[in-house]
């Protein structure tokens, strides 16, 4: 029993996290700038939910190719088709996503054009031998616009509520630091999706909200320890208290991130094509969230100058 691996992690780690804060903050700033730059220049590969249009998931024999399906759908002259292979578990069968853009026309005209386009595309696709249509999604213009708006609103509302909660439980300095760290995570995740051009859909928004929750969770654990240590060591300089607190919680941070990552990797590898984007976003989010709790949220307290003798909040 004494062989438990946990004993490999030092209980009294003394990693000088705070000393490298300027390097870390500079690195973060670079990542954020790069993310924003990529977002502005390359943009995001929005999925059907946000782009609108028609998307069909088809399963075909092993010989069908992306080009074949693209040529077939392009010949319908319903706009530039997108065809991508979507993971295949069976070597005899291949799965593709075939998408058409939102059809032109305002209101009902556009919605009906989408329906007609879906029928035309499905008829054309079923002419391929051995092809089976496994799912269809049609998102009209109005709905896709609403989904974009609700997605942004959801992330904004979540950030705001966390700000309020941390303010209520700690002091405003903590809440500012925590939310800046969250904004950092959100931007870096958006940047990751710009760079990899992975599909950004409703599930990705769910992932971002979960990342926000997870990263907050991590930050709160560190902050909780900082608050406790500030009371315990009244004379110790703030930078040292921050460093001590990060080190105190380090083995917990590593273990929790590791178990979460283990579960997510299983989801990424086995959970099927539909959950892969979500799992990818979450894996990235856990990494960036853990990083930001240590290197962004905690050092920011040095700049916001927390009050030491506070009697506010606390348990």
């Amino acid at each position: 029993m004494k062989l438990a691996l946990i004993n490999l992690l030092p209980t009294t780690a003394k990693v000088p996290f705070i000393r490298v804060r300027f390097v870390a903050l500079a690195l973060s700033a670079l990542v954020l700038l790069f993310s924003l730059f990529e977002f502005a220049n390359v943009g995001i590969n929005f999925g059907i939910d946000f782009r609108g249009g028609i998307q069909t998931e088809v399963e075909t024999g092993s010989t069908t190719t992306t080009e074949e399906l693209r040529d077939l759908t392009a010949a319908l002259e319903l706009g530039e088709p997108r065809v991508q292979e979507a993971g295949n578990t069976d070597p005899e069968r291949r799965t593709f996503l075939v998408a058409l853009p939102l059809q032109p026309g305002e209101g009902t005209v556009g919605e009906e054009a989408n329906q007609t386009a879906r029928q035309t595309m499905e008829t054309a696709l079923t002419s391929v031998e051995g092809l089976e249509i496994r799912g269809t999604t049609v998102i009209g213009g109005a709905v896709s616009r609403e989904l974009v708006v609700t997605g942004f609103v959801a992330i904004g509302v979540a950030l705001f509520l966390m700000l309020v909660y941390i303010w209520f439980r700690f002091q405003w300095q903590y809440s500012l630091g925590a939310v800046l760290a969250l904004v950092h995570d959100v931007i870096a995740t958006v940047g990751m999706f710009s760079v990899t051009q992975m599909t950004f859909d409703l599930a990705t928004v769910a992932a971002i909200l979960t990342i926000v929750g997870y990263s907050m969770n991590d930050t709160v654990v560190v902050y909780d320890r900082i608050r406790e240590n500030l009371r315990k060591y009244k004379k110790m300089p703030l930078a040292d208290v921050l460093n001590l607190s990060i080190n105190d919680t380090l083995s917990r941070t590593i273990l929790t991130s590791a178990t979460t990552l283990v579960a997510l990797v299983s989801l990424y590898l086995i959970g099927g094509a539909s959950l892969q984007g979500f799992a990818f976003a979450m894996i990235w989010g856990v990494l960036i969230g853990t990083y930001s709790s240590i290197f962004v949220a905690a050092p920011l307290l040095l700049f916001t100058d927390v009050e030491r003798e506070s009697t506010q909040g606390g348990v």
Binding site: I6, T108, L161, G213, V221, L267
Partner: protein, 550 residues
């Protein structure tokens, strides 16, 4: 922290037991749990399942296959119809009082009544007030708001302007939606599918979910058809022209005739003799004059009287049956039809005839509906998604178990048992509370498995620290649980906030993720803080260890 009273123990036991009881049905095939009636497919719990919960987790459409379609109700059409009705009522009211308007017309969002003589305007205004009244609320009572806002135009001495108030329009919207939902439900029920969901979605939309449906087009055709049926006399003195573009005198309308190639047209009297509302029952039948199936219909008492009169007085003339702007039948009246029934024949297959029967029996929609969002998953894809989801849960769970055992030894065992109870509680809550599990929901469960150990880790780390300070195991465990509480609560409240926002604002299947994540947070706080603590206490009492194994 280390003492568990009798009641506390009993509560923990009951919670875990309930979790197990509600989870177990998911592991037993349906035939074992229910006697399924061969006549109507209804289910009756059998054997032991009569006494314990027998319901399983509700699977979302992405897991069991089916169609999810959101229809938008054309509210502009509803508004226009409302305004036209208002204009007609205004005209009628004034005519009854011998006050002749120069014109009553729709201008923008208003009905504008122009009087010929400005000195009659005040009197007309007072008469028009009789049309007004309080808005009828959803519950049938009068509300404070008035239906219309009427005013004398200050710039034009002969004009009265009437507009529909926002309250009235909102009430009309609600009424239209609930009528549409009733009609759609009757139509979908006509298909004979199980457990369809038909619900209002937002201001002007209706959500239709049909599990197991593979062809969304069938549902779109069924729901998207307005099925407004009306009977008119044909006016054969008017030549509709080759494209139906001929000018018609007032009170006449030209409609295309269905299933004609090239399309033929007929002019009919705009006045409706009867509408679909006068029908009581339709069915697919045969008739000696037609080769294929025909649709037979029966009028209600009033409809039968009118139809009898019309057919008696117009022998030899043609009448037209118009469905959604198309003449579907135009028979010649050979003899009076007094029995109140008739047929629509010509060119139907059994399929198209039965669809028309479903539509006629369900009644007409109050407005036209357009599909704006559609998600269809075939049952085979749904099945594959469940299988890969299950596998991912099992493997993820196994990896986390290995990891925790390696990291914490005996305390790892506590956290694994807590984790197992956690999963049982999540599945039990989903079954017991009738919540829906979607594919993202499965992702939520896996994520919870990964994150749920966090609370345990926080506690164990505290215990380890306290142990290193030289406390006895009992002392260290006590202190560990006490001190970790604040961090655990704070950390979980924040994740719960994220899950709640996702639930309130999230669309479609993503809501399923918010559900499992939210439920998982509650159960993991319970299992980490109550259940694993109980295990640790039992271990302390049983083994009386001198030293902490972590």
């Amino acid at each position: 922290m280390l003492y568990f009273g009798r009641w506390k123990l009993l509560t923990i036991f009951l919670v875990v037991l309930a979790g197990i009881l509600f989870t177990v049905p998911n592991l037993v095939p349906e035939e074992e749990r229910y006697t399924i009636s061969e006549i109507d497919g209804s289910r009756e719990p059998r054997g032991i399942w009569r006494f314990i919960p027998s319901a399983t987790i509700n699977l979302g459409l992405d897991l069991q296959g089916g169609s999810h379609i959101v229809f938008a109700v054309d509210m502009d059409e509803v508004r226009t119809a409302q305004m036209e009705g208002l204009a007609a009522d205004a005209r009628q009211t004034l005519r009854n009082e011998q006050l002749l308007p120069r014109s009553v017309s729709l201008v923008g969002d208003e009905v504008v009544v122009l009087m010929i003589r400005p000195d009659e305007r005040q009197q007309a205004f007072e008469q028009l007030q009789t049309l007004n009244g309080p808005v009828t609320t959803e519950f049938g009572g009068p509300s404070l708001a008035q239906m219309y806002e009427m005013r004398l135009d200050p710039d034009d001495p002969s004009a009265i302007r009437i507009s529909v108030t926002d309250e009235q329009f909102a009430a009309i919207k609600t009424r239209t939606l609930s009528q549409a939902i009733t009609v759609i439900r009757r139509r979908i029920d006509g298909l004979g599918t199980t457990d369809p969901t038909i619900a209002r979605a937002g201001e002007d939309r209706v959500l239709v979910q049909v599990p197991g449906a593979e062809d969304p087009q069938e549902i779109i055709d069924l729901v998207g058809t307005q099925a407004a049926l009306s009977f008119h006399m044909v006016d054969s003195t008017i030549d509709p022209g080759p494209n139906g573009q001929a000018r018609t005198p007032p009170g006449r309308t030209i409609y295309p005739v269905a299933n004609t190639q090239p399309i033929q047209y007929l002019a009919v009297e705009t006045r409706q003799l009867l509408t679909g509302e006068n029908l009581t029952n339709s069915n697919v039948t045969t008739h000696p004059n037609y080769t294929g199936p025909v649709v037979g219909f029966r009028f209600d008492t009033q409809g039968a009287l009118v139809f009898g009169d019309v057919t008696t007085n117009n022998r030899g003339r043609q009448f037209a049956i118009v469905l959604d702007g198309e003449i579907i039948s135009a028979p010649r009246i050979n003899e009076p039809i007094l029995g109140g029934s008739g047929i629509i024949g010509g060119g139907y297959t059994y399929e198209t005839a039965s669809q028309l029967v479903i539509l006629l029996n369900a009644g007409a929609l109050p407005a036209s509906l357009t599909p704006v969002e559609e998600r269809t998953v075939s049952p085979s894809l749904g099945h594959d998604q469940i299988e890969s989801g299950k596998l991912a849960i099992i493997i993820g769970f196994a990896l986390v178990i290995v990891f925790m055992l390696a990291a914490y030894g005996v305390f790892g065992v506590f956290s694994i048992m807590a984790l197992m109870v956690n999963v049982v509680l999540i599945l039990g809550s989903l079954s017991g509370l009738g919540m829906t599990l979607t594919l993202p929901g499965i992702a939520g469960i896996i994520l919870t498995i990964g994150m749920a150990v966090d609370a345990n880790v926080l506690i164990f780390e505290r215990i380890r620290e306290e142990g290193l300070k030289g406390r006895t195991p009992a002392n260290a465990i006590q202190a560990g649980y006490e001190q970790a509480l604040a961090a655990i609560l704070d950390a979980n409240v924040t994740t719960f906030i994220a899950a709640s926002v996702l639930y309130l604002l999230g669309a479609g299947p993503v809501r399923g993720f918010a559900v499992t994540l939210g439920v998982g947070i509650i159960t993991s706080v319970f299992t980490a803080f109550v259940f694993s603590r109980l295990l640790a206490v039992l271990w302390l009492r049983g083994f009386k260890p001198k030293q902490l194994p972590i």
